[in-house]
């Protein structure tokens, strides 16, 4: 059995560490400036089990950031946000106006999701899309949405009403990334 080291030291990288765990061949974890515990090797994570099935009980990814929704082929300059926990991705955008008018029954697409779901429609997830209708005194109108085809959301206006370019659109979706 190889023994590692616990060092009080500093390293270079995305955050200098004051305490480093070394497994005998590489630094694997450290407390960074800002008092964060940081995994220093790609794929490293937190294992919530002492079983041998590590891949099923390891939290090895967390990330937040932004993405650019492109609605029916048009980039309206909207900024979407995402949070990825393991393989689960939460994406959203709020109050996006300028979307081309949709009549009831029209199918649209939103592309630009930050992670691929592998392009398999069978893995797609239903999602919530609404538009805040000016013609209906700003009542949220529900559309049917689905994540599928890698990084595309398909949605159909099933609200019974038409939207205008001044209506604000909102998306909230959860799906499973390839990894």
């Amino acid at each position: 059995m190889a023994y590692g080291n616990l060092n009080v030291d500093t390293i270079t990288g995305s955050g200098a560490s004051s305490v480093i765990v070394n497994n005998g061949s590489a630094n694997v974890a450290g407390f960074t400036t800002g008092n964060n515990l940081q995994m220093l090797q790609n794929g490293g994570g937190i294992v919530f089990s002492n079983s041998s099935a590590l891949t099923n009980s390891t939290l090895n990814d967390y990330e937040t950031g932004t993405w650019t929704p492109v609605i029916n082929g048009t980039n309206l300059g909207a900024v979407g946000v995402y949070t990825k926990i393991g393989r689960t991705v939460f994406v959203s955008f709020n109050n996006q106006t300028g979307v081309a008018a949709t009549s009831n029954g029209t199918q649209y697409t939103i592309t630009g999701l930050p992670f691929s779901d592998g392009g398999d429609y069978s893995k797609g997830a239903a999602c919530n899309i609404t538009f805040n209708s000016a013609s209906r005194s700003y009542i949220d109108s529900i559309c049917a949405g689905r994540v599928g085809s890698g990084t595309t959301v398909y949605f159909t206006n099933v609200s019974g009403y038409s939207s205008t370019t001044s209506d604000a659109w909102n998306l909230g979706a959860v799906y499973t990334a390839t990894f």
């Binding site: 995305s14 955050g15 990330e63 937040t64 950031g65 932004t66 993405w67 650019t68 995402y82 199918q107 630009g112 999701l113 930050p114 992670f115 691929s116 592998g118 392009g119 398999d120 429609y121 049917a144 949405g145 689905r146 599928g148 085809s149 890698g150 990084t151 398909y154 949605f155 159909t156 390839t178 990894f179």
Partner: protein, 85 residues
């Protein structure tokens, strides 16, 4: 006190089907010390010409990974999927 912002592609993930996931980091430094890092992501599927105008190293990776076989296999996979809401 000097604040500075730089952006770079800090992570590129290539999936089994040839899809390339790109992460761009905006790094904020104060007197040379990083104080914040914000991420923006996008995805390029095999054959997406937009990849060739992305920042380095995405174009080179796309050129290397997206062989004619990879692109045609991806297109066939997409075509095989039943579209619908």
């Amino acid at each position: 006190m000097t604040l500075a912002s730089t952006t770079n592609i800090d992570k590129v993930e290539t999936l089994q089907d040839g899809t390339i996931q790109v992460r761009q980091a905006e790094i904020i430094t104060k007197d040379g010390v990083e104080i914040a890092r914000n991420f923006t992501r996008w995805v390029r599927h095999p054959g997406d010409t937009g990849a060739h105008t992305d920042p380095s190293p995405v174009p080179a990776i796309a050129t290397a990974v997206w062989t004619a076989e990879v692109v045609s296999a991806y297109e066939a996979m997409v075509a095989s999927q039943a579209r619908g809401v």
